[in-house]
């Protein structure tokens, strides 16, 4: 590949980061061991709900190797963990926002709630000592299901949230929806559960906090997707520390999927304790702790109704959802089932009237927050399941009912607040049907039937809103943070470039994709660009990585910084070439006087900026180092169609995913290899939700029943097929890269596509309703309940 040209955009450039990951030289948080390292373990609640009558730490404190034992009583002056989004309810009141203490105070509210932290010379000693802590619990009745939690007489989890309600919130025009339903030719109704998931990045959460008395400053290594946000929340809201005295480093991070966005109690306690113990303290979650205490995802119960005219045109959609928040409000919990959910209910369709009401409930479970897709998979699941069902009821082909309702004129204002800038939904549907060989499906279904198997085909035409923005509008909707991103392009004197980004890569390959963006613009080899991320001591303040925003927002910030570099470079070149600045053109790594062959290479201009001997010092500062902050003017709207084909063995209930085909429109693509990888991974997580994964708490005791990888089924290689993926491109209209984002699409489209396929297969047996996950036992039971 010739890197020294614009062709680097759209190339399958192999990843720069792979060399270290493939040789075992990556540096993840647990790989960082500091001088005089101490280790911590957290004593966690064994009960889902209990009053703490007393905690006796005396014998633990005296155990061998123990340096300190802390409980809530010790954390004087430490505030609770904040929630980053204030939702205002339909009653006009702010949501109920009970305190979220770093260590449980007075009460425990879920199995895994941290009660005490033990710091010792070794992790074994810390664990031994933790077992010696005596907590006197008065066990209370628990409630783990969000619908149960809202019932009269349910156990009360927080005094600040009567009836366990966080908020009831609504979006849309209810009167218009009711009017549309009154004149509908057909109404389809569904009741669905969006099953609760546990993210399970393969690297467990970890932290290592150190205090340096010499400058009264802290360093925290932590598995974070957004180190600056972590630092801001921890210092300004919880610990009351000066922000500049805490350096947060998120080194190599082994997957996030949302679960590493949030400020958690563990790293907060570690930073506080590091100063008291005067030793660096490391904590690494065991997988069992990840199950108990990472923020979970989804957990919705929904009733939806779709009104259609006689031709299958959608007239109105009505959705009522109960969403679990868990025991405490995690960092972005409140905006997931509202702002990132109800706004997506138009899908790819022209449905003129939509109304959605969401009630969020506290439950005696781990907190619930964003997990890959975050609200958008739940919305897609509602829309695409009800569209599937409507097509079945009205005997319209699945592709046809979608085509009859696609948005085709852009920009398109939905009735649920979003303005779609661009898309081509027919193109993705056509291509998905082609690569899925839909034409051959009937023959394959017959072949399966001959073997006593049920074969089904399912569609999901999803839309997502990525690159959450703009900040001022989000602020009006309750966001307590900005939503911009920052990028710094530091041209070094020899012409190589160091890029400092607020985005964080934990598998996405930013070190390569961003380098391609910079290399293409500056006309330098990809190898000459280094991308630095994940260290508040090195990068400008940025919001990190979530919501498929890194390229469209973080990448655009870098482009804006590149604009400034080129603009300044032109001034320098004009001086060197003794020409007017307006006559200087920059292309292919050269500043040229227009219409001549007189030029200066990018490297020569860089050198002149740092060795300014022949330089307009009276008019221009030396150096070539520019920073830009970019706040998007709108969301981006990736969209596409996913088609899943399953074969069910009715004797065993095993659902085999035979084919999975996805055609997505992510706008312009910088590195197709990386984009395809993102789709593969997202689809696997979506298939995981629909086929295998299910977080189950015991309804009576609140114990987590799926608390290990032996109980909670992550997809394994032999659960999945190879995928067929394709893309269509309508460039985003409002960022210079034309990029939309690709990280979550797979997880958004796949669950509905798979479940629609399962329902299509089971329709032969008269089954019209089935909830995720389609495990063999559940499928077999449904088929056999029908039979008997």
């Amino acid at each position: 590949m010739g890197a020294n040209d614009k062709g680097v955009i759209g190339e399958r450039v192999l990843r720069k980061e792979d060399a270290r990951f493939l040789t075992g030289t990556g540096q993840y948080t647990d790989d960082v061991t500091l001088p005089h390292q101490a280790y911590a373990t957290f004593l966690r609640s064994p009960h889902a709900h209990a009053t703490i009558r007393g905690i006796d730490t005396a014998s633990a404190a005296k155990a061998p190797g123990v340096l300190a034992v802390y409980t809530a009583a010790d954390l004087k002056g430490v505030n609770g963990l904040p929630c980053g989004w204030l939702i205002t309810g339909t009653d006009g009141k702010p949501m109920n926002e009970p305190p979220h203490p770093v260590l449980a105070s007075g009460k425990v509210r879920y199995v895994g709630d941290p009660v005490a932290v033990v710091v010792a010379e070794s992790i074994t000693q810390a664990k031994d000592a933790a077992e010696m802590i005596e907590v006197d619990y008065d066990v209370l009745p628990a409630v783990v299901n969000p619908v149960d939690a809202l019932k009269a007489g349910a156990p009360q989890i927080h005094a600040e949230a009567p009836g366990n309600k966080c908020y009831t919130w609504a979006l849309g025009d209810k009167a218009a929806v009711d009017a549309a339903f009154a004149k509908a030719a057909h109404v389809t109704k569904i009741d669905i559960v969006n099953n609760r998931l546990i993210p399970n990045a393969i690297e467990p959460r970890a932290a290592n906090a150190a205090y340096n008395a010499a400058d009264d400053a802290y360093t925290l290594y932590v598995t974070s997707q957004n180190p600056h946000v972590e630092r801001l929340l921890m210092t300004a809201f919880v610990l009351g520390l000066p922000e500049h005295k805490v350096r947060v480093i998120a080194p190599d991070v082994g997957g996030g999927f949302g679960s590493k966005i949030y400020l958690y109690p563990e790293e907060t306690a570690l930073v506080w304790a590091a100063k008291h113990v005067r030793r660096p303290i490391k904590w690494v979650a065991e997988r069992s702790e990840s199950f108990l205490a990472d923020a979970h995802g989804r957990d919705h119960v929904t009733h939806a109704e779709l009104a259609l005219d006689k031709d299958g045109k959608f007239l109105a959609l009505k959705v009522q959802t109960t969403a679990a928040m868990g025991a405490y409000l995690s960092t972005f919990a409140s905006c997931i089932p509202t702002i990132l959910y109800a706004t997506l209910l138009a899908g790819q369709y022209t449905t003129p009237a939509i109304w959605c009401e969401v009630t969020a409930a506290f439950t005696n479970t781990a907190p619930v927050d964003a997990y890959r897709g975050a609200g958008r998979p739940e919305a897609t699941y509602v829309v695409e399941r009800i569209v599937h069902q409507a097509a079945v009821e009205m005997k319209i082909a699945q592709d046809d009912i979608r085509r009859r309702n696609f948005v085709r004129t852009f920009p398109y204002q939905t009735p649920v607040a979003l303005l779609y800038d661009i898309g081509d939904y027919d193109a993705c549907l056509d291509e998905a049907m082609r690569i899925a060989d839909v034409k051959g499906f009937a023959a394959r279904r017959d072949a399966s039937a001959k073997q006593g198997k049920l074969r089904g085909l399912g569609y999901a035409s999803y839309i997502e809103a990525c690159g959450l923005a703009p900040s001022n509008i989000a602020g009006a909707l309750g966001a307590r943070a900005g939503l911009f991103e920052a990028g710094e392009v530091r041209v070094n004197p020899t012409g190589s470039v160091s890029v400092f980004t607020g985005s964080h890569s934990h598998g996405q390959g930013h070190e390569t994709t961003f380098a391609q963006v910079v290399a293409a613009r500056l006309g330098i080899p990809v190898e000459n660009v280094d991308v630095v991320h994940g260290d508040t001591g090195r990068i400008p303040f940025g919001m990190g990585t979530y919501g498929s925003r890194s390229l469209s927002v973080g990448g655009t910030a870098i482009v804006k910084a590149l604009d400034k570099v080129v603009a300044k470079g032109k001034k320098i070149a004009a001086h060197l070439l003794e020409a007017a600045e307006s006559d200087i053109e920059f292309a292919d790594g050269k500043f040229t006087v227009a219409g001549t062959d007189r030029s200066k290479a990018f490297g020569e201009v860089a050198l002149a900026a740092y060795v300014p001997h022949n330089y307009p010092l009276d008019k221009l500062e030396p150096g070539l180092d520019e920073t830009a902050f970019y706040d998007p003017t709108n969301f981006t709207f990736p969209a596409g169609t996913h088609i899943c084909e399953v074969e069910i063995d009715p004797e065993t209930g095993v659902v085999k995913v035979d084919r999975f085909s996805a055609c997505d429109d992510f706008g312009n693509i910088i590195n197709p290899m990386i984009v395809e990888g993102q789709v593969h991974g997202g689809v696997a997580q979506g298939i995981g939700q629909a086929l295998l994964e299910n977080c189950v708490y015991d309804r009576a005791t609140g114990q987590l029943l799926t608390g290990s990888l032996m109980d909670y089924a992550l997809p394994r290689a032999d659960d999945l097929p190879s995928f067929e993926v394709a893309t269509k491109v309508t460039p985003c209209t409002h960022n210079p890269l034309g990029a939309k984002g690709c990280g979550e699409a797979g997880a958004i489209g796949a669950p509905a596509a798979l479940m629609n396929a399962v329902l299509d297969a089971m329709a032969a047996r008269g089954i019209q309703h089935f909830d995720m996950p389609a495990t063999p036992h559940r499928v077999w039971s449904a088929l056999n309940a029908q039979r008997s």
């Binding site: 990556g26 393969i202 598998g507 290899m673 593969h680 689809v683 997580q685 290990s708 990888l709 190879s722």
Partner: protein, 163 residues
Amino acid sequence: MSATLSLTVNGKAVSATIDPRTLLVDFLRQNLGLTGVHVGCDTAQCGACTVHLDGRAVKSCNVLAMQAAGAKVLTIEGLATDGELHPMQAAFRECHGLQCGFCTPGMVMSALDLCARHPHADEATIRAELEGNLCRCTGYHNIVKAVKQGAAAMGQEARHGGE
């Protein structure tokens, strides 16, 4: 209580005095600094800690270090020679068979074991054999591709070596 352990790790003789309860993974990570061996779970399910013990892939979280006494252990750090990636490592890179990199060392070590037993494995065999290694990023699609390509490259190298 402590015990003395001698073994060969990545071609080098190693001796240490350790607590006999020490797991092989902790010995490799903490005593030898081989932090490419990762810990992803506590139930021997994820496979991120996979290393070779006398040529066989094992989950090092499920083996006491003392069980490796006198044995030859190979970790991800011992695969590349003179800075050149092993063909399987190269195949993972070329096929984009890794994203966050956390499962990767274990995945590569399992892939090598798989290829030794099934030099011409088809997709179904590769998928079945990788059942003990979890990846949350790639959906396995490109891992399967990488293992196929890596196996082919190793086969070619072996043929060249035999000439």
